[in-house]
């Protein structure tokens, strides 16, 4: 991701600052450097956190759509840019230019409506997953919570970011859960996407005719490059369990009362083929409320990073984890009736038997079950991903078939192993994929997580070469790399996929004549500094680009 120094940063003009004060009230705008630097500290997925990101020139805290509009209009008048921020999480939440007003949406934190019957909620940007889930559960419903955890904004992931979570098998993907959105365009005008723009409610996201949902984002959002989303309607999903799960304690020191209609299986298979085949059958049987393949070592580094360090140095334990229990799969079953949970459990066991798998039913092991339940159900374990090294990053390919995602996990593992051996990243035993299934139809997600310590110069020096190595591997596999949304590689990757960024630039120009949105994470292009990348790897990238670059007639055969 793009990073920058503060060398070219300038203070905001008095006139512009007064306009911002007029927009949101003097108490809700700041240019205090200490406050601004709080926003510039966006380390996650920042490949050089020593630099931080750009410091915004001011931060504003609007409380309504109208105030957001006024802020955006002020930016247009004064030649400033804006960048929205809700719950944040990574480098993509921060400015990429020197003249950016950070629009912190934390005062817009209301759940405006829950339509229990038609299973959707209307929310503002700072509503977080845990907040929405808790309210939904009171009505027998639940919401999709992304992998980044329950502190994150469902609006942000559905409109502007990514949107994958362990519950994807039952609750889909952020963007596909959108039923309508209110959108402040970069010129300050508001549009609403879907039936809500006709004043008919928030039940349908598309039309009349073409859907503007296709403009606002793709598999990745525009990350505020096309404006600010101030409300959205999101699908809710059934939760046939209790309205509240009684829990004592926090995170790993928690004891939850497991609902009777829940089963939680830790499944293991002898090899990749039998795991792959079994999971395809799980999809065809339409089983699961939550499902993931996560390596056992990943559980350990999350829950007990010091223990993992010891294990990593012990050959036999290392082998047990890396080989003996490598092909694991976690699935939570939830039944709306006793008969349904009995059926799901029996069908899963039959699939396991047919594929030589075995399962530990975690709910039958109270010490484990009560500890891990909320970590999966509410995704509370995720923040612990920072424990091992303080920071982590990820390597993502394009979601497609379950088979391709298993390939990506293996590719990622092999790349990581090399860098672990070089001391370039922390040793998490290399196999550390975050995988999710979608919609029981067996398209899936895999990202390879890696841990690093920003205080270690060797680690920092590894990040850019690894980023390129993962990109090369994805392109070689005919997969869209994560770098497709990175300003430094767009120029290289875009021609391999229909010149998508030329269209993104056109979309940007169409809605943003004053270039008021911070488009660094949307359509800007800068050159990548390949000086830290091995020449052979750069040459391989060049060959792949030559091979896959679209001609006038499409992809070359």
């Amino acid at each position: 991701m793009t990073t920058a120094t503060l060398e070219t940063w300038k203070e905001i003009s008095e006139a512009a600052y007064r306009d911002l004060e007029n927009a949101v009230g003097a108490e809700n705008v700041s240019r205090e450097p200490a406050v601004l630097d709080g926003y510039a500290w966006q380390p996650t997925i920042n490949d050089d956190p020593a630099k931080w990101v750009k410091r915004p020139v001011a931060v504003v805290l609007p409380s309504s759509t109208e105030e957001v509009q006024e802020v955006v209009r002020a930016c247009n008048r004064h030649g400033l840019k804006f960048k929205a921020f809700s719950t944040g999480w990574g480098v993509y939440s921060g400015p990429t230019y020197d003249n950016v007003v950070q629009i912190d949406l934390r005062r817009m934190n209301r759940i405006l409506e829950i339509d229990e019957k038609n299973m959707y909620a209307l929310v503002e940007p700072y509503v977080c997953g845990a907040q929405l889930q808790a309210e939904a559960m009171k009505r027998g419903l639940n919401c999709h919570i992304i992998g980044a955890g329950p502190a994150c904004s469902p609006l942000a992931s559905a409109t502007s970011g990514w949107g994958v979570g362990w519950d994807g098998v039952y609750m889909s993907y952020g963007h596909r859960n959108l039923l309508g959105a209110e959108w402040v365009l970069p010129d300050g005008e508001v549009i609403r996407v879907g039936s809500c723009d006709s004043g008919l409610g928030w039940f349908s996201p598309d039309g009349p005719g073409p859907s503007l949902r296709g403009l606002m984002r793709g598999s990745t959002g525009a990350l505020s490059g096309l404006g600010v989303f101030t409300k959205c309607a999101l699908k809710l999903y059934p939760w046939p369990g209790p309205s509240r799960v009684n829990v004592r304690g926090l995170l790993l020191d928690a004891k939850a009362e497991i609902p009777e209609n829940v089963r939680f299986h830790l499944c293991f298979f002898p090899d990749r083929k039998r795991l792959a085949d079994a999971v395809y059958r799980v999809g065809e049987a339409e089983l699961g409320y939550l499902a993931t393949r996560t390596a056992v070592a990943a559980f350990i580094y999350t829950f007990a990073p010091h223990l993992l360090r010891r294990i990593a140095g012990t050959r036999c334990l290392r082998d047990v984890l890396s080989r003996g229990v490598k092909w694991g799969f976690v699935i939570m079953l939830v039944g709306a009736s006793e008969e349904e949970i009995a059926y799901q459990d029996a069908a899963l066991r039959r699939i396991l038997a047919d594929h030589d798998g075995l399962s530990i039913e975690a709910m039958g092991v109270p010490a484990i079950g009560s500890m891990v339940f909320m970590n999966f159900f509410r995704v509370t374990a995720i923040p612990m991903v920072f424990r091992m090294g303080g920071l982590f990053s990820t390597a993502l390919d394009r979601n497609d078939t379950w088979d391709t995602q298993l390939d990506w996990a293996e590719i990622g593992e092999s790349i990581k192993r090399k860098w672990i051996e070089r001391g370039g990243i922390l040793d998490d035993l290399a196999d550390n994929p975050f995988m999710a299934l979608y919609e029981s139809n067996m398209w899936a997600h895999c990202e390879e997580i890696f841990q690093y310590d920003a205080r270690d110069p060797k680690h920092l020096a590894s990040l850019e070469p690894m980023f390129i190595e993962f990109s090369v591997a994805a392109i070689e596999k005919c997969m869209e790399p994560l770098s497709a949304t990175d300003a430094r590689l767009r120029k290289i990757v875009s021609p391999l996929m229909g010149h998508y960024n030329e269209w993104q630039k056109k979309v940007s120009a169409m809605v943003d004549t004053n270039r008021a949105a911070d488009t660094g994470m949307y359509c800007d292009e800068v050159d990548f500094d390949f000086s830290k990348v091995e020449p052979e790897l750069k040459a391989k990238l060049d060959r792949l680009v030559e091979r896959f670059r679209w001609t006038e007639d499409g992809p070359p055969s």
Binding site: E189, I191, S195, D206, P208, L215, D400, M442, Y500, W550
Partner: protein, 492 residues
Amino acid sequence: MAELNMLLEKLASVVGNENVSTAEDLLSTYRKAGTVEGGEPLAVVRPADTREVRELVKLARAEGYNLVFSSSAPPRLRGDSIPRGEGIIVDMSRMDKIVRLDRRNKVALIEAGVTYERLIPEVDKLGLKVLMPLLPKRGKSVLASCLEREPIIIPKYHWDMTDPMLCTELVFGTGDLFRTGSAAGPGTLEQQWAAGAAQKNPMGPAQTDFVRVVQGSQGTMAAVTWCSLKLEVKPEIHRIRFVPDAKLERLIDFTYRALRPRLGDEWLILNSYALATMVSEDPERIPDLAGEQAPFTVVYGVSGYQYLPEERVAYQERDLARHAQAAGVSATAEVPGCSWKKMERILASPSPEPYYKMRPKGDFLDIFFLTTLDQAPRFISVMEAQAERFGYPTQRIGIYIQPIQQGRNAHLEFTIYFNPEDRPKALELFDSASRALSEAGAFFSRPYGAWSDLAYARCPDTVRVLRKVKDMLDPDHVLNRGKLCFEIEGVS
């Protein structure tokens, strides 16, 4: 005439003489459809591949033609393939390859001209099924049905409005080629298959999702040459049940209760006349058969798959029975004139010829829109009041409610059946009822013909942005000129 001949020569230079036609019987099928009339098709051209489609678009830009894409066989029902003024019809039916069927990943990749009739048996051989709308026309293009957002009859598989369509190949009005979803690349389809991919991911590439802009656009944004399509497993055990009842509200209550935990497969609600029209082989018998039905009937399917199919069906039937009891309704295995086996066959196939809605009177008009299930009774009252106002018997209106997006909203469809000689009266009712329903809050998400004025009058902000999008993707307005909210001065 000389000008037309020159035009035909240019078109022939792209698709070959034998694929350019000005035959009157062919052109006449593009002059009117549904309530849309006045099309002036100049010729019908039949491209063989994407290259020819792109050449046609480039030619249209150079010469200023209006291209209207059409993939399905007649009868034409909605008017989206009727040009507004003059137009060249681009008939995609030659592009009819089933490019790939993938059993493991449950995907088909099909060209625009592939029909349901053609695809269903091929998919069936693999133990899979096509996710279909209710009784599509026999010659209906699968891709066109998806692009038109025709609702599929299994709500639990309708996760999002693009379903079951996944990836697409597009030719924008600029002539540029683009691919959406995981088909975008890197690599050709073949290279992607070799790498294990199957064009399963419908989103993207990157931060665009142009398939959503093209879907529902009635061919005004891009031509679509192929798409990948989500398939599902054919059940080992499949049963259809009927829940007839006098009160629609009870059936809606039952539907909400059942769809929330994703019980059932097929799920639709029909009134007595719509049901009779579907099941009666003898048009003369339809009124009597309708009289024998309950006013409304839920039709649902229950399935068991490879693993423990009996057990799955058993738990679903038990849970459904509980919900039925709570809603005060009950299920049965047959209704007058239709066993569950017969309904199973009906739901799994395209309509027999002639198209089933022609059966009662020889012609028909549909009014359909999106709403939520709980609002359906209110809209039915509006429609019935309109029918009474125009002297149309309310019991002869067909009503079809299709829950979509797993029950979060619904396609509500009224059918006005009429003798061809009564068309003017039917059009009056259609026009008045459409307006009344719009005023009552109907969301015409698929705004064919005159509905576009009704729909777009309600959302000027959306119109403002859509026009910019149109100018970006089709700057010379060569694709289905003048449709939706993209009026051109001087073209009526």
